[in-house]
């Protein structure tokens, strides 16, 4: 235990209990202040996740859970074609969505940071507001847009671009990617904007004075220096989207099912908690590994560019 701050001699003489003394140090006061939300997160986040990990090593025996250690659930989660395919598809969707979102959002973050002037706050507000409202409704809206008799098909028919409605717009992986990318677009702006704000503008001026063109300036200064923001934006889009449940359910059809749908079935109709737990843990571990690989790759790219 750390008791770096010096205690008062008078207190020491008074023989205060070590706990009381600790609580009067800077460290003690800090821990005491943060303890209510910290204990809450321990009890309702860490605790339940440990329970899920434990469950993933048990097995379902009709209505009860057999608590003998087994790796059977992981064997099923990682080798049975249905789960393997769902996992790979979920990873593909989340990585694609993350890159699409960041690439499309970067120019917008740039615009707000460089040309936003005194309206930067207002711009960020306008861009992020759709993200906070109507999660279900936005996905439903894409169903209305992309559907067989949807807005997009009707418009294209009206304009004479197509002779009959396209059935390829909805109920596939593309529809899931489009909907998710739209949902998370606003969220990706924030870390990109923060990293662009931190960028020292005089570096760009110096490079321009020394004869670097805009492309070179971007590749050698802006891109490497905003890499932390790019990485953060990729992560905050990729990790939550891998477990999205509603989007595949509403616009994915049978070709767009993702791992969250399989997890939900195990906790619902199929009632096999241990298998559901193993699917959830596998998803988290694999998405973390992919995230780690992307971070390393981009960090390497950054060094290369500099």
């Amino acid at each position: 235990m750390e008791t770096s701050a010096p205690t008062m001699p008078a207190e020491r003489a008074a023989g205060l209990a070590p706990v009381t003394r600790f609580l009067r140090t800077e460290t003690g006061k800090g821990w005491l202040t943060i303890s209510p939300p910290l204990i809450y997160a321990m009890l309702l986040l860490i605790g339940p996740i440990i329970v899920i990990v434990a469950n993933s090593f048990w097995s379902q025996d009709y209505l009860t859970i057999d608590r003998t250690f087994t790796l059977e659930n992981y064997r099923a989660a990682l080798t049975e074609p249905i789960y393997r395919d769902l996992l790979m598809r979920s990873l593909f969707v989340s990585v694609t969505v993350a890159f699409v979102t960041v690439i499309l959002a970067y120019p917008v973050a740039w615009f707000v940071s460089f040309h936003g002037g005194r309206y930067k706050g207002l711009w960020l507000f306008i861009i992020t507001v759709p993200f906070w409202s109507g999660y279900l409704l936005r996905i439903l809206s894409w169903k209305v847009i992309l559907g067989y008799k949807g807005v997009l098909n009707e418009t294209l028919l009206y304009l004479g671009v197509i002779a009959e409605p396209l059935s390829s717009l909805i109920y596939n992986v593309n529809a899931v990617v489009i909907t998710l990318a739209h949902s998370w677009a606003a969220f990706a702006i924030l870390p990109l904007f923060v990293s662009l704000e931190k960028l020292d503008r005089s570096l760009l001026e110096a490079a321009a004075d020394l004869g670097d063109g805009p492309v070179r300036r971007f590749l050698r200064i802006t891109l490497p220096l905003t890499m932390p923001g790019i990485i953060a934006a990729l992560m905050i889009v990729m990790i939550p989207t891998v477990g999205d449940y509603v989007t595949p359910k509403l616009v994915g059809g049978k070709d767009g099912v993702m791992i969250a749908n399989a997890i939900q079935v195990q906790f619902g109709k199929a009632s096999n908690w241990p298998l559901g737990a193993a699917l959830a843990v596998s998803t988290m571990v694999i998405v973390s590994m992919v995230a780690g690989a992307i971070v390393l790759l981009l960090a390497g790219l950054k060094r290369l560019l500099k």
Binding site: V129, K149, A260
Partner: protein, 268 residues
């Protein structure tokens, strides 16, 4: 020079297109909710209020609205209280472990919600708890606290800790300092945190879907109605009301946040 302004014009056009696409699906549903047709399709058939009128006599929907209100208010108040503790520790204390503690508190922001939902479900059922609005509130609290912390950290950064010291030096107790100095200074940020977390709870679906048992919140009620194609126009009307409420609440939150920032600028 002209090349520069040309690229600037392309960038501006791109940003406008981007924002338009961002808002298009959000604004499309309200348009169809006033459309006099049982299915959402173009061209629009005519203007009507009937989908909104039929909501008025819908007891199940009103029950869900009441549930959402109870959950939202509870989650907002409790997460703001927890958020004040965390934000205070983050801005006023330096100690080893602070980084780890605050990342744990912020973690629900980045975890897939389905993971949080199923782990809470297993624990609640394992403890023999009946699924109810309380279990939804407990879940919402987890995802609301990080937003509270974000709003309140900037609130704490906005005022000088020496004001609290002065209050204590002048003989005020810790509680008196909290009540008469800290909370009034933080008030705009606290209101902003309450509004933001209420909106997040109001909009949240996955946790409520897994943890609500027989008492649905509005998004869970909407989800149930999606099975019936004939109910779609009513869903669109209800959804439009929800989106409008969220927009108003978030705008109010933003105005309070601005006010907190202005307070900071006025500081001598």
């Amino acid at each position: 020079m002209s090349a520069l302004s040309a690229s600037r014009r392309i960038l501006s056009a791109y940003v406008i297109l981007y924002v338009a696409i961002l808002y298009f699906p959000v604004l499309l549903l309200p348009v169809f909710s006033f459309n006099d047709s049982a299915t959402p399709k173009l061209p629009l058939a005519g203007f009507t209020f009937k989908w909104y009128e039929s909501l008025a006599g819908n007891a199940a929907m009103q029950g869900a609205a009441w549930n959402s209100l109870v959950v939202g208010v509870s989650a907002a108040v409790l997460s703001t209280v927890l958020g004040i503790c965390a934000a205070r520790a983050i801005t006023r204390h330096r100690f080893r472990g602070l980084g780890a503690a605050s990342s744990l508190i912020m973690a629900p922001l980045i975890l897939p919600e389905i993971i949080i939902a199923i782990s809470l479900l297993v624990v609640m059922l394992g403890l023999g708890l009946q699924l109810s609005l309380v279990t939804v509130i407990l879940g919402h609290l987890l995802i609301c606290v990080p937003y509270s912390v974000t709003v309140l950290v900037s609130g704490f950064e906005g005022f000088d800790p020496s004001m609290e010291e002065a209050s204590r030096d002048l003989g005020e107790t810790s509680f008196g300092t909290l009540r008469r100095v800290t909370l009034p200074m933080l008030a705009p940020s606290i209101v902003s945190s309450l509004l933001v977390t209420f909106t997040i709870s109001l909009d949240e679906f996955i946790l409520a879907f897994f943890l609500s048992g027989t008492e649905p919140t509005l998004p869970v009620y909407i989800w149930g109605q999606l099975r019936f194609a004939a109910k779609l126009p009513n869903v669109l009307a209800l959804g439009s009301i929800l989106i409008a409420a969220s927009l108003i609440l978030l705008t109010a939150a933003e105005l309070f946040r601005r006010r907190a920032e202005r307070k900071m600028e006025l500081r001598p």
